[in-house]
Each structure stands twice: as structure tokens, then as C-alpha cells.
Symmetry: C2
Subunit: 351 residues, 2 copies
Amino acid sequence: MSLPRIAVDAMGGDDGVRTVVSGAALARREHDRFNFLLVGDRARIERALEAHPNMRHASEILHCEDVVGMDEKPTQALRRAKTTSMGLAIHAVKEGKAGAAVSAGNTGALMAMSKLALRTMPGIDRPALAALMPTLGDNDVIMLDLGANTECDARNLVQFAIMGAAYSRIITGKEAPRVRLLNIGTEDTKGTEGVQAAAAQLRAATGLAMSFEGFVEADKINRGQTDVVVTDGFSGNIALKAIEGSARFVTDLLRSAFTSSLRSKIGFLVSRPATELLRHHLDPNNHNGAVFLGLNGVVVKSHGSATAKGVANAVNVAARLLEESLTERIAADLAELGEARLRVTGNGQSK
Amino acid sequence: MSLPRIAVDAMGGDDGVRTVVSGAALARREHDRFNFLLVGDRARIERALEAHPNMRHASEILHCEDVVGMDEKPTQALRRAKTTSMGLAIHAVKEGKAGAAVSAGNTGALMAMSKLALRTMPGIDRPALAALMPTLGDNDVIMLDLGANTECDARNLVQFAIMGAAYSRIITGKEAPRVRLLNIGTEDTKGTEGVQAAAAQLRAATGLAMSFEGFVEADKINRGQTDVVVTDGFSGNIALKAIEGSARFVTDLLRSAFTSSLRSKIGFLVSRPATELLRHHLDPNNHNGAVFLGLNGVVVKSHGSATAKGVANAVNVAARLLEESLTERIAADLAELGEARLRVTGNGQSK
């Protein structure tokens, strides 16, 4: 079976074309059935491909010179959807010339362009940005929304839960991933009206391909006891960045502690394998690749400062989601929910 | 000059009366001009005081047997405001028999009882819960609200900024602490309407005893570049717990990395002073004592699992705020804002 291509915005990211192309080539070693559409400056892409002959054979180049700036306003970028590398990569998905787009460019512009070009799936009011985060358990946890929607109602949160669960089934292989809503306490009475109403709907619904387990507080996100954490984009973005900032804070403290005395320095050298393990576990490149869920097509955001390894992980995410037909799975789950809702209403249990 | 007493709910907390009384005695060593009102079971308090003769001389016991349960609903607890140790400690502040109350009990109940008994200060619509958090800089950062108000409007956020700045002036000694609103980006267009409107009001206001510096993202809270981080209670609670959980996650990873091989174990032993320093810096007991700001009286929440050292820090916070007349300072700042607002309106710059 032939798989759809992956369109890569070769111009996004802080490190330039070479890092993006090397990353895509690295990903292709794991997913060698995929072909690529590399969008951006032809001469630079060709130079970058010289080091990766296998990748060159599997790639078509779509030349363009215009690039969305990292600080550009989404509304401005939208006007150049047909001329920029980001816009053309998304457009390739819209036209069926690719199944997924990957970009390390401006997040707001990527979101705005993706929504406009690809539209949301039937049954989804708003797409959400989902990412994988490390845990103390066996699997990563998926958190969404991470900033695509500043304010969300109960209906949005329920849809995010369904999309997150579909994604988690692919990642964890579980039939019913454990889903929780992010809240400021675990009692029913805690939180906003929206969070409470979403919990009531998810509890009442039957036939969902998830195990809805109520609320989770932000200090428990990475304990490995939850597969999907659902929240609005404001809280989700704050939680994500607070976690990243705090991890960096601790490692910065550790570094200064380890260099505070000769004895500490020696201890550091002796225990380097341990600290390397920690660094590996916390390296954001190993968890790179946030996905816009709920669109008619897969769009993956790579971090602007990602290394080639980080880009490879983002491309791997796109490849995995195409192989596992994420979009179709979400559509099937939404159809299921439609029926479940009718049943709930029939029992008079819905809110 | 005689200072007001500090009322201590001796029954709150997971570790019982002995820990609370030892903690208060420890705090009194630093603040020996203070007297205490210890509220709870007389026999147990007296036994706990046997080890602290100086504390005994400075303490009056207010006997009661009823205790607010840690899982009790605030509405239920409110009915027993006149019989529980928590309720009586707050009531002592209301009646002027103490200047501050400290409790390690149920946060929701403490908040509800404090609001009902002490009422908010003139010019404050809602009290906020504020706590100190460690940074890479010289001073702790103050963050508020941490969960007292699930939803907040621009007016609430502006008032929180004023109260947080007053608190920070006491902690940092700065005349104009750097205040920022927590947001999901630093551009003007980011975030909710409420956050944007609060930023506009704080930018336009003159004569405030703070330096308002716009927005801060959650990964920058503990970089030491901000003195006060202002947010709604939902986001604040999530940010606080995400930071705590992430710090614990990293230290758990570190522990497992350090015990993964003999070499790592040796490295750990050699570098123990460094890891002890880290542990000291991250120990929540060293930052214990969240304050309800905006009430007619000082109420300090000690963590339920605090050690005697942790309780001492919470009591120290209460003592410091009484010594420095926090409530009066906030009142003065609010009066100033009233004038500033008039000026702003006169210039036509207000929103």
C-alpha cells in the first residue's frame, strides 16, 4: 500500500534548511516507505540533500522564496499562504499532494493557515494542539490543548478528550486510554463551570474508546497514571511551560551545586552517566512534534530550536499518525459519540 | 511598641499539635516580641508546650475540641466557625484579640471562614492567595492568586497586582517591585480579554508603587527577573502545582539515575553536599506560608504536610507581615490608585 507523502517546511526553525533536511532524512530511516515534499529554497535544499542520497531519491522539491517570520502576526502571514514555504506545505495537504505537513515555523501562523486551508473535521468545532510529555511511567502522556484556543467551553473539552484518546491509542496501544481533565482539585465541585460540565458529559457518555477518570491536578501530570490530560489552551500552555521552566530551574540549580566545590565537581564527573541519563530524559528534542488535532489532515509543529534529532522526532510523529490513520480514527470515535449522546439524552442523564 | 498576637490553629495539619507548637516556638526565636494564642485541645497543647518553656510563657490557650476535617466541604465547615480551632483562630483576629491567624487545615474552609469573618478590605473585591516561590535570582517571587478565585476579571487582576506589590516591597525591600501578568505569550494580543484589559489598566495607571512590566510566560516565573506574578486562581493553581510536580519529577529521575549503577552511587556519595543543597533549595518547608491578601487581617495558610520548620516559616510570614503593617500598606496603595485612576480618566487614557 502506498502511503501519503509528508510535506516539510524546509525553511522553518532557527537552525535553517540543513537541520530540517537532516532531521527528515533521519526520520526516513525509521519510516522508509514515506516520500517527501520539501518546500523552500531549491538551491539550499539541494545542497542539504547532498549528504543524504536516500532522502534525495525519496524527495520532491517545491521551490519558493517567501518565508513566514517567527514574530510575524498570524493575520499577516495568512495573506501569504500561497507564497510561503509554510503555506505551500499546508496547501499540499489540502490538495491531497501530501498527507501531513511538518513545520518548525511560527506557531500562530501555522495554526491560522492550517485552520483556514484544511478546515476542522465534521463534529469538531475547534482544532487543538497536542504534545507528548515524559512521565515516570512506561508511556508518554498526551496533553491538549496547549494554546490553540485561549478559551474553551465544555463541548470543546469533550471533543479534545476524544481526539486525545484516539492519539493515545496509537501511542500506548491501549484500547481505553485513561483520560482526565486538568483541574485545581479532584472533587466534583472544583474548577470552572466548563470543566465541571465537560466532566459530567464524559462520565455520562457510553461507548467512548477511553476510560474517563475525572480530574487531575497539575502536579500529577507526569506521574504516569494518566494517558491524556485535557484542558483549555490558556491553562494547557501555562502548565506545559511551567513544567518546562521548572525542569530547567532544577537542572540549573543542580549544575551550580555541582560546580560549587572541588568535591562536587569530582562527584559530578564520577556520576556523569547518571546526569547524562537525566539530560537525555529531559531533552525536549526527544519529545518534539506537537500535533494539531481535529483538522482534515495532519499538521505537526516542530520546535523552532529543535536539532536534527528533534526534527526527526516531529517527522516520525507525522509518519506514525499517517500509518495509523489518526484522522479516520477520530472521525469514527466522533460518530460513536453521536450515538452515545442520543442514548444519554434518552435516559435523561445528560446535562 | 506592643505587637498584636498571632493566633495559631494548633489542630490543623497532618502531623498534629506537637509539630504545630514546635514550629511556632521555633518562629518565636526569631520574632521574640510576639505573643501567641494557641487554639485547640488544651491538654495536648500543654503537653506540647512542656518542651518549649519560653513559648509557654508567651502563649495563651483557647480550648476547643472541634476540628475542621481536611476533606470537609467549606460550606459545612462554615457552620462550625464558632466551635472549631480554625474558626476560633480567625475569630480572634476579627475581635482584635490577635493580628494574624495561622492554620495548616483545609484550604477551602480557611478561605471561606476568613472571608466571612474578616471581610475584604475597602477597595478589594476579592481576596487572593499569595505564596513565595524560589528563583534563580536573589529574592523569592510572589505569585497570586493560587486558587482562591477560579475566575477573575481585569479589575480583580489589577487589585491582585497592587496587593502583590505591597507584599513584595516587604520581602525584597524594593520601592517598585517588578510586576507581570501571567500569560501564554508576551505580545499585547496574547491571552484572554481579562488579561489584556488588566495589562492596559496597569500600563495606564500612574503613581503605583510598582514597575509593571507586561506579561510573563510560565517558563520564566522562576528565572529571578520578576518579583510578582499575577494571575487568576485557576491558572495560578495549575502553574504552582505544575512547577512543584515538575521539580519532584526531575528529582525522582535524578534519584533513580544515581542508583542505577555502582559508579553512579559512588558519584552520588561524593557529591552529596551538592544534592543536599538542591534538596534544601527545593524543600517546600523553606517556602511554606501562603497568605490571603485583601482581608481585614492577616491569615496565613501553612501546608498540611509541613514539618516544624515549615510551620515556623508560616508563622514567620505572619510575624513579618504584622511587623511591616501589610494591611495598612495595601490600603494606602489602593487610595493612591483611586487618585491615579481619576488622573487617567481625566487624560482620556483609560479603557
